[in-house]
C-alpha cells in the first residue's frame, strides 16, 4: 500500500487509549546507539568512505573584513592530484546565497569577506593533504576594510554596512541596516509603575560567546548520481531545511538532491546552519566523483555559528513587601556577519526576558546586530539563556536590597498557570515555578570539606584547582546560589511548524512489525529510542524498525527548540493511531459480523492481537493482515502561534513553556580565583517522562553545558581584528568529569493537556538556570558583583 498523506487538525488533544506495552512509553529503554558509541564502534559521518572518492577542502579568509581584489588559483589547480578548484565565479546557479531565514550568506565569498574564517575557495583532491596543500597555494589579495565589532561601531554615522541594499522582511522596520531585527515588547506602564517602587536595582550584564563544542566535527559525503543529481550523506539537525537551501544553489530541483542522515556526533544548535553540505555537492557535481569533507577541530570553530554574545541592561523595581513593580530591559545580541537564526533569537530573548515571573509593567527591547564578528545563531537555550543570566542576577540584587531570602523572593513573584506573559499570551498549562524552587531549596546540603581524607593529605580532586594541586583548603569558601528559568518549546511566532511520520505495520514470519520512518535528525537526544517506545505503545507490537532518516519522507522539522519528542514523537503517535484505526477497520470488515464487540467495544492492539478494553481477544494481527500492510504518512502540527506585533510585542507567540530550577553549591579558592562546583541540583517539570533515563541525561547534560559557560567556556574574539583567538580545545575549555559536580535531579510530571501524552519539551531549560545559579553561588562565596560570564580567575582576584 502506498503511503498517503493527511494532516491532522491542529492541536487536537489526544489521550493514551492503549495500555502499557513492553518497551513502551514510560520505560527507560536503552538507546540503540548507546553501546556502539561507548565502545567506539558507532559510525559517525566522518567515518564514511566511498570508492574513488575525493577529499574536499575549504580555504577560509584570514581576515575579518576585506574586499577581495583578486584570487589566483592557477598554481593550486596545477597541483598533481587536484581535480577542481572552485570560487564564487564557478557557482552554477543564479542563487549564490543561503540562510535559515534570510538568504544573506554567500556559498563562497563574492568579492568581500565579512568575518574571519569565511569560505572563499574549495579544492577537491585525491588526498586530504594534497587538497590542503593546494589550497595553501591559492593567492588572495585582501584589501582590508574598517571593522564593525560592537553596537557603537555598528551604528556609528560612518559605519560600514554589512549588507548594503538589504531587502529582507526585517529591513523595513529596523532602525539601522546593521540591525538584523528589533523586537520591542510593551505592557502596562513601566515608567509609571517605577514611581511606586520602594527599591530599584539596575545592572549591566555581559554574556560571552559560547560554542556548541559538539564532539563530531562537520562532515559528509556527496555522491553524484546518474540523473545529474546528488546523494548527500551528512550530519545535520534538519534535513529538509538543508535541502531547501542546497538545491537552489546547485541549480537542481529538490528531488534530485537526496539526503540521508549519517551518524551525528552532537549538535546543540550548531548544525542548524549549512556548513560543508553545499561545498561537497558542488565539488562532487563538478568532478563527477564522490567527495568527502571533514572539518578538523580548528576549522569546526569557524564552520558553525555560535551562541550570541550579549550585553543586557536591566532595571527592576519592587515594593517593600517584595512584589516586583516593573522591569525595563535592553538586550543587544551580536549576530556577527550573517543573519543565521538571529531574528528568532531576538524574538526569544525579548519575549522571555521577563523570566518566569509575574510583572505587569514592562518595557523591553531586544536587537541583534550585524558585525564582522563570527556569525552567531542557534544554540541550546536560544536567546533565553542570555536573558536568564541577567534577570536572575537582578532577582538576587532585589532580594538583597529588600533583605529577603532570594528563593522566597522569587517564589513570591513566580508565575503560575493562568499568568499573562509580557506578550499578552496566557500560560495555559502548569507552571510550577514556585514548587521547583521549593524542591531544590529543600534538598539536603552536600557535606562540607569533602576534600578531607582519613589519612593526612587533602584529596585535591574535591578542591578548586583539582589535580593541579593549588590548594589543600586554603582560601576556600563555600557559596550557594539559586536560579530558575523559562523556555519556549517548538518554533514560535507564527511559523508553520510540523513533523511528518510514516508508519508501516505488517506481519513478518507471523509476527507484527512496525516500521517508523521519519526525517528526524537523531543528534544524540534519543529520539529514535522514543519513537520505538511510542510505536510499541500505540500498536501493541514488540518489534519496531526505525528507518534511516532521509528526505524520502516528509520533513520532521528541526531537532532543536526542545521540540522533537513533542513534534516528531507526536507525529509518530498520530500516525500510529491512524494505522491502528485502519487495522481495526480491516478487522471490522473481515470479522465484524462474527462478534458484536467489533462494533460496540473500545478496541486496542495488544501483543499482536486485537483485544477489547475488557481484555477479550478478537483477532490475531497475523490473520487479520495476512500479507497486507498498513502504511501511512501523516503530518502533525502543534497549535498555531502568532507573530509578535512589531511595536508592542503582543501576540500568542509560543507553543508551550518549560521551566527548570537549579541550586548550585560551589567552593571558591578566593585567593587564586578558582572554582569547584560541588553540586548542581535541578528540579524540572517534563509533563510526562517518556523515558526517564533519557530525561535525566538531558537535564544533566544541559546543566553541565550551563556550568561550562559559567566558569570556562568562551570564544575569545580580538576586538582589534575581529579574529578568533582560541579555536581549539586547548584554549576553548569545556568541563571535564572533574569539573562536573553531582547533579541530583527531581522530575515533576504535570501534564500539558495540549501536548502528546502531556509531555513538555525539556532539553534546553536546564541550560538556562544552571549558569546563573553557579554565578549566584560564586557571588555568595566571594561577595563580588560579577556581571560577566564566564567568570575568570582574574574577575575573582581583581587582576584583569
Amino acid at each position: 500500500m502506498a503511503p498517503n498523506t493527511r494532516t491532522t487538525p491542529a492541536g487536537t488533544p489526544t489521550n493514551v487509549t492503549q495500555k502499557h506495552a513492553r518497551g513502551g512509553i514510560g520505560e527507560s529503554t536503552l538507546r540503540p546507539d548507546g553501546t556502539l558509541k561507548v565502545t567506539g564502534e558507532f559510525a559517525y559521518s566522518s567515518d564514511m568512505w566511498h570508492e574513488d572518492m575525493l577529499w574536499g577542502h575549504t580555504l577560509r579568509s584570514t581576515v575579518a573584513h576585506a574586499e577581495i581584489a583578486s584570487i589566483d588559483i592557477s598554481e593550486a589547480l596545477a597541483t598533481a592530484g587536484v581535480y577542481a578548484v572552485l570560487t564564487y565565479d564557478d557557482l552554477p546557479a543564479k542563487m549564490k546565497n543561503y540562510g535559515l531565514e534570510i538568504q544573506d550568506t554567500p556559498v563562497l565569498a563574492n568579492g568581500r569577506v565579512r568575518h574571519h574564517g569565511e569560505p572563499v575557495a574549495l579544492v577537491a583532491a585525491d588526498h586530504p593533504e594534497t587538497a590542503r596543500r593546494a589550497a595553501a597555494k591559492i593567492k588572495i589579495d585582501y584589501r582590508e576594510l574598517p571593522l564593525v565589532t560592537d553596537e557603537a561601531s555598528a551604528l556609528a554615522e560612518d559605519a560600514p554596512l554589512l549588507h548594503p541594499g538589504r531587502d529582507d522582511h526585517h529591513s523595513g522596520h529596523v532602525p539601522h541596516p546593521n540591525i538584523v531585527h528589533r523586537q520591542p515588547i510593551i505592557r502596562g506602564d513601566a515608567a509609571e509603575a517605577a514611581k511606586k517602587a520602594d527599591v530599584i536595582v539596575t545592572g549591566e550584564y555581559v554574556f560571552g560567546m559560547q560554542d556548541q563544542a559538539f564532539l563530531g566535527p562537520e562532515s559528509g559525503l556527496a555522491v553524484p548520481s546518474e540523473d545529474g543529481g546528488v546523494d548527500l550523506y551528512v550530519a545535520t539537525q534538519w534535513l529538509h531545511s538543508d535541502l531547501r537551501q542546497i538545491a537552489p544553489v546547485l541549480g537542481l530541483p529538490e528531488e534530485k538532491v537526496r539526503m540521508t542522515l549519517s551518524g551525528v556526533g552532537g549538535a546543540f544548535g550548531g548544525r542548524e546552519d549549512i556548513s560543508m553540505q553545499i561545498h561537497a555537492c558542488l565539488l562532487a557535481l563538478r568532478t563527477g566523483k564522490p567527495v568527502k569533507m571533514v572539518y578538523n577541530r580548528f576549522e569546526s570553530f569557524f564552520g558553525h555559528v555560535h551562541r550570541h554574545p550579549a550585553k543586557l541592561r536591566y532595571e527592576h523595581g519592587a515594593t517593600k513587601d517584595g512584589k516586583i513593580t516593573h522591569m525595563k530591559c535592553r538586550i543587544v545580541l551580536d549576530g556577527g556577519a550573517y543573519a543565521s537564526a538571529s531574528p528568532a533569537v531576538v524574538g526569544n530573548a525579548s519575549s522571555l526576558s521577563v523570566g518566569p515571573y509575574v510583572i505587569d509593567n514592562v518595557d523591553i527591547e531586544a536587537v541583534a546586530l550585524y558585525t564582522n564578528n563570527p556569525p552567531c545563531g542557534a544554540m541550546r537555550g536560544f536567546g533565553a539563556v542570555q536573558a536568564c543570566f541577567a534577570y536572575e542576577a537582578q532577582m538576587d540584587k532585589l532580594a538583597a536590597k529588600l533583605g529577603m531570602d532570594p528563593v522566597e523572593f522569587r517564589r513570591l513573584n513566580a508565575m503560575e498557570q493562568g499568568a499573562i506573559m509580557p506578550t499578552g499570551q496566557v500560560v495555559d498549562s502548569p507552571a510550577p515555578v514556585a514548587e521547583l524552587l521549593r524542591r531544590v531549596k529543600a534538598r539536603p546540603m552536600p557535606p562540607e570539606r569533602q576534600w578531607e581524607t582519613a589519612g593526612e593529605g587533602a584529596d585535591v580532586r574535591a578542591l578548586p584547582g583539582g589535580l593541579s594541586n593549588t590548594t589543600h583548603g586554603e582560601g576556600v569558601v563555600r557559596g550557594v546560589g539559586y536560579a530558575v528559568g523559562i523556555k519556549n518549546v517548538g518554533f514560535s511566532e507564527g511559523f508553520d511548524d510540523y513533523s511528518t511520520a510514516r508508519v508501516r505495520l505488517e506481519v513478518i514470519n507471523g509476527e507484527p512489525v512496525a516500521m517508523v520512518h521519519t526525517a528526524m535528525a537523531e543528534v544524540g537526544q534519543g529520539g529514535v529510542t522514543v519513537h520505538a517506545q511510542i510505536a510499541r505503545t500505540e500498536l501493541g507490537v514488540t518489534q519496531v524498525t526505525i528507518h534511516p532518516a532521509d528526505t524520502q519522507v516528509g520533513s520532521a522539522g528541526s531537532t532543536s527548540a526542545s521540540r522533537q519528542t513533542y513534534m516528531t514523537g507526536g507525529a509518530v503517535k498520530n500516525t500510529c493511531e491512524a494505522v491502528r484505526e485502519k487495522v481495526l477497520e480491516i478487522g471490522r470488515r473481515k470479522y465484524g459480523s462474527y462478534h458484536p464487540a467489533w462494533a460496540t467495544a473500545e478496541l486496542l492492539l495488544e501483543s499482536g492481537k486485537v483485544v477489547t478494553d475488557g481484555g477479550e481477544v478478537l483477532a490475531d494481527l497475523g490473520e487479520l493482515l495476512e500479507d497486507e500492510s498498513v502504511d501511512l504518512e501523516l503530518e502533525f502540527r502543534h497549535r498555531p502561534t502568532q507573530a509578535f506585533d512589531l511595536v508592542t510585542g503582543q501576540g500568542d507567540g509560543h507553543v508551550q513553556y518549560t521551566f527548570a530550577a537549579h541550586r548550585a553549591v560551589v567552593e571558591v579558592d578566593t585567593e587564586l580565583g578558582l572554582v569547584k562546583v560541588i553540586e548542581l541540583a535541578c528540579a524540572q517539570d517534563v509533563g510526562k517522562a517518556l523515558n526517564m533515563l533519557s530525561v535525566v541525561g538531558q537535564i544533566q547534560g544541559g546543566t553541565t553545558q550551563g556550568l561550562g559557560v559559567a566558569v570556562m567556556e568562551e570564544i575569545i574574539v580580538d576586538p582589534k581584528t575581529a579574529k578568533v583567538r582560541n579555536p581549539s580545545f586547548t584554549d576553548y575549555l569545556i568541563p571535564t568529569i572533574l569539573d562536573t559536580p553531582t547533579m541530583p535531579v527531581d522530575v515533576l510530571e504535570l501534564a500539558d493537556p495540549n501536548a502528546p501524552y502531556g509531555l513538555r519539551g525539556l532539553g534546553e531549560a536546564p541550560t538556562l538556570s544552571s549558569t546563573p545559579a553557579v554565578l549566584a553561588a560564586i557571588r555568595n562565596a566571594t561577595g563580588l558583583e560579577l556581571n560577566k560570564t564566564p567568570v575568570r580567575p582574574e574577575h575573582l582576584t581583581g587582576t584583569l
Partner: protein
C-alpha cells in the same frame, strides 16, 4: 616527510647527525599536535620508540637517572618517593592517555614555558644528558632553557637522560589552569626543600619566556631560614617571611597577557602558590624532618 626509525641509540645519533633538521618523536603528544594543526612540517621525523634505553630509569645514591621516554604515568607510580615534585607535576599533565605516552624528554625538547615538568626539575636540581656522534655532555637545567621554545641542544644532539637530584626533603608543585583537569598551565610553581644543603630551590612555569627559578626569593628565604635557625628549631615560618618570599617569587615573573590569563594574574597566582607550597613543604619538614611523598 620521511620517517626515520633507528633500532638503537647509536643509529638514532647517526640519523640525527645525518639529518640535523630531523624532529625527534617519542610519545608524540606534542609533536603530533603540531603536525596535525599544520604548525610545523618537519622534513624528517626521527622515531625514538625503538630505542629501549630511553625508557629506563635508575635510582642511584644521589640522582635518579631518568630516560627521556619514561612516561609521566611511570614517574607518578614508580618515582613518587625519589622525585615527589616531578611526580606531582606529572599528575597535572593532560589526561591519563597522554600521561601513558608522554615523557620528560618531550617537555625538554619542546622547551615550552608551559611544560609541566620544568618547574619541578628546576626546583629539584637536574642535569640533562645530551649526546651526539661527537660525544655526550651534561647541561645543568638552569642553563638548558635559552628562549621561548628554545633549548641548549646542538642540531645534532639528542636528549638521552635527565639526572635529577633525589629528594632530600619535601617537595611540592602547583599549577593554575582554568579547569580542574586536562589543562595547559596558566602558570605553575615548583618548590623543593633541600635540608642537606639548607637551601630552597624553586621553579616557575608559564610566567616568563622560559621556565625560571625565583632566585632572589630563594636567596632571601635561605638567609631568613638560616638567620632564624628554622632548619634546626623547626618553627613555623613567620607570615612576614612567607609573604616576602611570595612577593619575590611574583617579582621573578616576566609574564605576558594571552588568552589563558593576564600577566597581572600570573604574577599574583605565582605569589600565592609560592606561599602555599612553602607552607606545605615546611609543615612536612617540621613534622617529619624527612622526605615524604607529595601530599596530593
Amino acid at each position: 616527510m620521511d620517517f626515520l626509525r633507528p633500532a638503537s641509540w647509536e643509529e638514532a645519533l647517526a640519523a640525527k647527525a645525518e639529518h640535523p633538521t630531523a624532529v625527534p618523536i617519542a610519545g608524540g603528544t606534542d609533536v603530533m599536535v603540531e603536525i596535525n594543526f599544520d604548525h610545523r612540517r618537519p622534513e624528517y621525523l626521527l622515531d625514538l620508540n625503538r630505542v629501549e634505553l630511553l625508557r629506563d630509569w635508575e635510582a642511584g645514591e644521589e640522582n635518579v637517572r631518568l630516560g627521556a621516554s619514561v612516561t609521566y604515568t611511570q614517574i607518578m607510580e614508580q618515582l613518587r618517593a625519589e622525585l615527589p615534585g616531578l611526580a606531582l607535576a606529572s599528575h597535572t599533565v593532560a589526561s591519563p592517555q597522554i600521561r601513558n605516552r608522554g615523557g620528560v624528554g618531550g617537555n625538554l625538547g619542546t622547551a615550552s614555558p608551559a611544560g609541566d615538568a620544568h618547574p619541578a626539575l628546576l626546583a629539584a636540581g637536574a642535569e640533562v644528558e645530551v649526546e651526539s656522534v661527537r660525544g655526550s655532555r651534561f647541561i645543568p637545567i638552569d642553563e638548558f632553557y635559552t628562549g621561548v621554545k628554545r633549548n641548549a641542544l646542538q642540531p645534532d644532539e639528542l636528549i638521552k637522560t635527565v639526572h635529577i637530584k633525589k629528594a632530600d626533603g619535601p617537595q611540592q608543585y602547583s599549577k593554575v589552569g582554568t579547569r580542574n583537569a586536562m589543562v595547559i598551565a596558566v602558570c605553575a610553581f615548583g618548590l623543593a626543600l633541600h635540608p642537606e644543603t639548607r637551601t630552597v630551590r624553586t621553579g616557575i612555569g608559564s610566567a616568563a619566556p622560559t621556565p625560571v627559578r625565583a632566585k632572589e626569593a630563594e636567596e632571601f628565604l635561605n638567609a631568613a631560614l638560616e638567620e632564624g635557625g628554622f632548619w634546626d628549631n623547626g618553627k613555623i615560618i613567620t607570615p612576614s617571611i612567607a609573604k616576602q618570599f611570595a612577593d619575590l617569587a611574583s617579582a621573578a615573573c616576566n609574564p605576558i597577557d594571552d588568552v589563558r590569563g593576564t600577566a597581572r594574574y600570573r604574577r599574583h597566582a605565582v605569589g600565592i602558590m609560592a606561599r602555599r607550597t612553602l607552607g606545605w613543604t615546611w609543615e612536612q619538614y617540621r613534622s617529619t624532618g624527612a622526605t615524604l611523598e607529595g601530599a596530593a
